[in-house]
């Protein structure tokens, strides 16, 4: 029983972390120029 509880908490925190990262990247405007991002990586100095 305890195992299930811990597993649920662990999996939810991992998934919640993913959600938080996604929301952060959305807020930071990382999806605003997908076309440019794919080209920019070739020009890094």
């Amino acid at each position: 029983m305890n195992v299930i509880l811990w597993l649920i908490i662990a999996s939810l925190s991992v998934a919640g972390g993913g959600l938080a990262v996604f929301l952060w990247s959305l807020r930071a405007g990382q999806y605003e120029d997908l076309k440019g991002a794919s080209e920019r990586i070739l020009y890094d100095e």
Partner: protein, 789 residues
């Protein structure tokens, strides 16, 4: 292109391999560059050590080459925002960005300027964001730096509107992320619960899993359901119903029921169904918003790139570039040859001929004399004139058109979208069925609580997930498909309306005919070649038409543009001039005032006349439209002669000439009253009310601003075939939408008795709902890659 080029310019034949090192266009034998602009651009890039650009870039031959041109000056000051730290910020639309190397070049070059804080090009939206400290100099200087490389920069005016759509889209994506997170996790827990039913899970464990599901689902539904709840509330408060009403009722009911069940510790909860439903629906919403946002953005970019500023003559005689809306009544405005008039007003000085086709639909140029009225959208074909701006207000032509459009839209009434029509009968039927189920079970003696539970199951299983996806799924794919073919869909219900049409009404000028004039007659090839080499240095409509008729030419060195008069070039044997009759000193008759004149030293002046031609594929498109069972009519504001000529050429026997905007509008409305569903295709300002009144409407991208804003669809390119393709896509989209709705309804009809007899378990509900949604999406995907026909 290259063959015509070789025909008209024998001197350069066989030297096609010699391409300009900067812009890649052909250049004279032995030369490295085609013009001085390109030489300068190359020197700038080379001097900065940014030669990597030339190795990395991939020029798209279908796009404008990066050849620096004389640019129209824009008023930048009104677009600059001062930030709290003293830096200035400016958003610009960049024309000419073709690949990643362009982005790199612009950013690198600006980044080396002192005082630049941010210089970032968004390749998706073709926008440059500039932030700079005062030491970087004026905005004009920075813009000029980039324009010297061959790009065009236009201040981006629609900041507010764009951020508004950005915000809605971001809110939807956030809701989608939250719903996806909750749906995945709740579904995972649910699978555990379902497995536990047969594997003998204890009630305490099950209750724990239910509570965890509730903790995940409740906040997620409260957050991600908002777009639906708001829309449903809005519809209900206006005593209407839409698809969001049954969605919201279903989701809220399922959630509260499941919460009660969780508190009571019972076996079944439906949190997974509720969250998955929202997740699927949000996918549709996000895609829909994206597709239409992109179409609207492209239209606004066109308009921004085209709409120039107005040259206002200040009291001390200097020229000020102002934005159109900032010109005050009484201001004097200078309009040079080939320029589009930006204001309504009265001619103060000068005599000229005006191309009024965009305003009246008439192709023959109209003479303008001091005291004559002129309207925004006309093009000055002759020498420069000065216009006194008239009082802006209800008297202007634009205001008159806007009034007609408004009235026409009122009369047309709101087209009820297919999905909303379905929702209109769907909501009452489903809710009555649930109520009857509940009453029937009570009548058989079941306790009220259990009867309510079964009734709720009916609502859950009929929750219109597939039904709500049926229309947007098809629409999103069709919109993307059209966008790829250069057709921009602006209105949500346009495809449905376009599929219903049985008649197409065309405007002539600029719609059936090419937006640009073309050269008539066959002037001596030598004269034509020399004229083209001068004309290539200018971007006025007539010079562009002249260059296009030769299949392309490279500008000669040392061409000087005399604003509003013409072009000249000094050579050893004297001066060559290309321009208006007055500019070259020709003694011209009134009928040859329009067009261009060329004077070469030691030769008599040559006149180049221009006329309209039908779009190349127009006859085929008209024939194919007929084959689709559509009747064709031509309504033009032009005189009988040209209209008859084009109608005969295209095989249209139902035509009418000399139509005033009001007559056109009345004609469209009469057709509507006779039961016809009309597609109006037009480009002129005079067509705008018809575009609003017709059942569906299309405009070419060369159309007047107001027409493009009014039309449901805007198509790009020289061909007329987009009209055909749009109708074909609309028809197949409608077929898929109907199949989708049929699938969803059949599924509901099958599921309802099962639910009403109390046999539905949560896993069955979740599986059935996801299954039907996926089926609908898969069916919609069939629209992808489909060609016309």
């Amino acid at each position: 292109m290259s063959t015509t080029y070789a025909d008209t310019a024998p001197a350069f034949a066989g030297t096609q391999a010699a391409a300009c090192r900067h812009c890649g266009e052909p250049c004279p034998p032995g030369a490295l560059f085609c013009c001085t602009g390109c030489t300068a651009a190359f020197e700038i890039i080379d001097g900065l050590g940014l030669d990597l650009y030339y190795q990395r870039r991939q020029l798209d031959p279908t796009q404008r080459p990066p050849r620096p041109q004389q640019q129209q000056r824009y008023d930048l000051q009104s677009h600059i925002r001062t930030r709290p730290d003293g830096a200035s910020e400016l958003l610009l639309t960049v024309d000419g960005v073709q690949c990643g190397a362009c982005v790199w070049l612009i950013e690198q070059m600006l980044g080396r300027e002192p005082g630049i804080v941010v210089a970032r090009v968004n390749m998706t939206t073709c926008r440059l964001r500039l932030v700079w400290q005062p030491e970087a100099g004026s905005a004009e200087r920075l813009v000029d730096l980039v324009e010297r490389l061959g790009y065009r920069l236009v201040p981006f005016g629609a900041e507010r509107q764009a951020t508004e759509t950005d915000r809605t889209e971001r809110a939807l994506v956030r809701a989608l992320a939250v719903a996806g997170f909750a749906a995945g996790n709740v579904m995972l827990l649910s699978i555990g619960i379902w497995a536990g039913l047969t594997e003998g899970m204890g009630p305490a464990t099950r209750s724990l899993l239910h509570w965890v599901s509730a903790l995940l689902a409740l906040p997620a539904i409260a957050y991600a359901g908002q777009p639906f709840f708001r829309s449903a509330w809005h519809a209900l408060s206006h005593r209407r119903t839409n698809m969001d009403v049954p969605i919201s009722v279903g989701v809220l009911l399922v959630t509260s029921l499941s919460l009660v069940e969780t508190i009571n510790g019972s076996t079944h909860t439906y949190f997974d169904s509720a969250v998955t439903l929202l997740f699927f629906l949000l996918i549709g919403r996000v895609l829909d918003q994206r597709a239409r946002g992109r179409a609207r953005e492209t239209v606004s970019r066109f308009l921004a790139l085209r709409g120039g500023d107005v040259a206002v003559i200040a009291e001390d005689g200097t020229l000020l570039r102002r934005q159109q809306r900032e010109v005050a009544p009484g201001d004097n405005v200078l309009v040079g040859m080939g320029e589009r008039i930006g204001v309504d007003g009265v001619v103060a000085h000068g005599e000229t001929l005006l191309d009024t086709s965009l305003v009246t639909g008439e192709i023959a140029p109209e003479p303008a004399k001091p005291g004559g009225r002129v309207f925004a959208g006309m093009v000055n074909l002759g020498p420069a004139i000065t216009i006194t701006t008239r009082a802006t207000g209800s008297a202007t032509l634009l205001a008159e058109m806007a009034r007609l459009i408004e009235a026409a839209e009122d009369r047309r009434g709101r087209h009820v979208a297919l999905a909303d029509r379905v929702a209109r009968w769907y909501t009452p039927v489903v809710h009555t069925a649930a109520l009857l189920t509940c009453l029937a079970w009570i009548a058989t003696g079941l306790p009220v609580g259990e009867a309510l539970l079964i009734a709720s199951a009916v609502l859950i299983i009929t929750c219109p997930c597939a039904l709500a996806l049926a229309v947007p799924a098809a629409q999103v794919i069709a919109t993307g498909e059209l966008l790829r073919q250069g057709i921009l869909l602006k209105s949500g219900t346009a495809l449905e309306r376009l599929a219903e049409i049985d008649m197409v009404v065309f405007d002539k000028t600029g719609t059936l005919t090419e937006p640009d004039l073309s050269l008539v007659g066959a002037p001596p090839p030598d004269d034509l070649r020399i004229a083209a080499s001068l004309a290539a240095a200018s971007r006025h409509p007539l010079t562009r038409a002249l260059v296009a008729s030769t299949g392309g030419a490279m500008p000669a060195d040392g061409v000087i543009e005399h604003q509003g008069e013409g072009l000249s070039r000094m050579a050893a044997d004297g001066e060559t001039r290309l321009g208006s009759a007055a500019f070259i000193g020709a003694d011209a008759a009134a009928d040859t005032l329009a067009g261009l004149w060329l004077r070469r030293p030691g030769h008599t002046p040559v006149h180049f006349a221009f006329a309209e031609t039908a779009r190349p594929d127009a006859p085929v498109v008209i024939a194919l439209l007929r084959a689709m069972g559509l009747s064709i009519r031509l309504l033009s504001g032009d005189r009988e002669g040209p209209v008859h000529r084009i109608a005969a050429q295209l095989g249209i026997d139902d035509w009418q000439s000399g139509c005033l905007p009001k007559v056109k509008l009345a004609s469209i409305e009469a057709l509507a009253q006779a039961g016809h569903k009309v597609l109006m295709v037009g480009d002129g300002l005079n067509d705008a009310p018809c575009l609003a009144a017709a059942h569906a409407s299309m405009s070419p991208a060369s159309a007047a601003d107001l027409s493009q804003t009014t039309a449901d669809l805007v198509f790009q390119g020289r061909a007329l075939s987009p009209v055909l393709r749009a109708i074909a896509v609309a028809r197949s989209t409608r077929a898929v939408m109907r199949q989708n709705i049929a699938l969803a309804v059949v599924y509901n009809i099958l599921a309802m008795p099962v639910a009403a007899s109390g046999l539905v378990t949560p896993w069955l509900a979740a599986a059935a709902m996801s299954g039907s949604s996926l089926l609908v999406m898969a069916n919609s995907l069939r629209l992808r890659g489909q060609r016309a026909g």
